[in-house]
Amino acid sequence: MSNLSASEDANAIVVCPDGPILVRGDFEIVSTTGEPLPRTRRTVALCRCGASTIKPYCDGTHKLINFRTEFPADPEKALPDR
């Protein structure tokens, strides 16, 4: 039996381009007061675009609103005007 290193065995958060954040492994999803939120599957996709109808989970709406996550070509332009 091989020994998994800590990094190989760790929980993983996958940041999906133009999409949600996948969380895989052993973890809990709780409210700000520590109450567990409803969860029915091991690996979940958390909404990142803000438009999901089933937050905190993703429902694919990011595709309809053309949500983009890539860095802007000129980061200065992404900053609000001062």
Binding site: L22, R42, T43, A45, I54, D59, K63
Partner: protein
């Protein structure tokens, strides 16, 4: 499942043969000759009632089997030859008609992005918008009857691919399928949730009960998956098929749920659809990047088939939606008559 009624000379010969005990020197040469004749004369193998039903029954021997048919027929060389004849014409027809995108990405993010782009394009009439806003109570029944042919064995055609995959693609496929099969809870299997929805509308949820009512196109959408899944050489196509299925599921299922809620059905009936809104938003990411993309990274020569499998879903399922919505727009049923005319 219960043995369907024949729809023409090929399915008639096949179903007669399946009633006999398998033996050496069986009547397969007659069957093979009849298939060759039908293939030479059919207007369209994808819409051929007789050939699609025969292919469906041949695949069914690999799934739950046909009632009162000897299990040894599954690997009978004559029947495998019959299957390959129809399969080969079916595959050729699909390859000549399914459009492929021009791009050829070779990393997993690129493959996922291309698949999301491909599946995000508007491809014809929308079944989900129709069901959400306009479908009558009877049309909801029809909708479920078409879907029941696959959804009562949901995920099974893709499971054939697991031992043909390796590493990242295999782990991705298993992760998706474990969720499809309820994560160890039989009552949460997607096929079980679909059966619950059928019962909620007063439909019979036994597997294959409505095969006689669905047209060749409905069988073709199922046969395509079985062909991609059962043939190892088509593992790229089944990976692409699953990715495209998952990528075209979350939002349509939200709308399907709305259609059933519009008719007053409760969350027991809509559970199946509601479950898919959340599940497939997870699955589409894994299927696009790790399954399809991971497979292309490890076997780049499969890229073309991944794209073929994905585009084939959009094309053939699109033809089926066109058929159903076309019938409904004219106030007709999209199903076959329940008592077929004598052949």
């Amino acid at each position: 499942m219960k043995t369907p009624l024949a729809r023409g000379p090929v399915s008639s010969l096949l179903l007669d043969q399946l009633q006999q005990p398998p033996s050496e020197g069986d009547g397969s040469s007659v069957l093979l000759d009849r298939i060759r004749l039908s293939l030479a004369t059919t207007a369209d193998v994808v819409r051929d009632e007789d050939l699609q039903l025969a292919l469906f029954c041949l695949y069914e021997l690999n799934y739950s089997g046909l009632d009162d048919v000897d299990g040894h027929w599954e690997w009978n060389p004559g029947l495998l030859g019959a299957r390959q004849l129809i399969e080969s014409a079916f595959e050729d027809s699909l390859r000549s008609r399914v459009p492929l995108p021009a791009e050829r990405p070779l990393d997993s993010d690129g493959v996922a992005a291309l698949l999301f782009d491909l599946t995000g394009k508007d491809s014809g009439p929308s079944m989900s918008r129709f069901v959400a806003k306009r479908a009558t109570r009877e049309q909801l029944d029809e909708f479920l009857i078409h879907k029941s042919i696959y959804q009562l064995k949901e995920a099974d055609p893709h499971t054939w691919a697991i031992p043909r995959l390796n590493g990242r693609a295999k782990a991705a496929m298993v992760e998706i399928q474990a969720d499809e099969y309820g994560g160890g809870r039989p009552q949460r299997m997607h096929s079980a949730l679909f059966a619950r929805t059928m019962r909620g509308l007063g439909l019979d949820d036994s597997y294959g009960n409505y095969v006689d009512l669905v047209p060749a196109l409905t069988l073709a959408t199922n046969n395509m998956m079985s062909m991609f899944g059962i043939n190892r050489r088509l593992r790229g196509a089944i990976a692409g098929h699953l990715a495209a299925y998952e990528m075209t599921s979350s939002q349509p299922n939200r709308l399907y749920g709305n259609g059933f809620r519009r008719h007053g059905f409760d969350d027991q009936v809509t559970w199946y659809f509601d479950e898919h809104v959340e599940a497939d938003a997870v699955h589409e990411q894994i299927a696009g990047r790790d399954l399809a993309g991971g497979l292309v990274e490890s076997e780049p020569e499969l890229l073309e088939d991944v794209l073929f499998g994905a585009s084939a879903v959009l094309t053939v399922d699109g033809w089926l939606s066109e058929h159903i919505l076309g019938c409904w727009e004219q106030g007709q049923s999209s199903l076959r008559p329940s008592v077929p005319e004598a052949a």
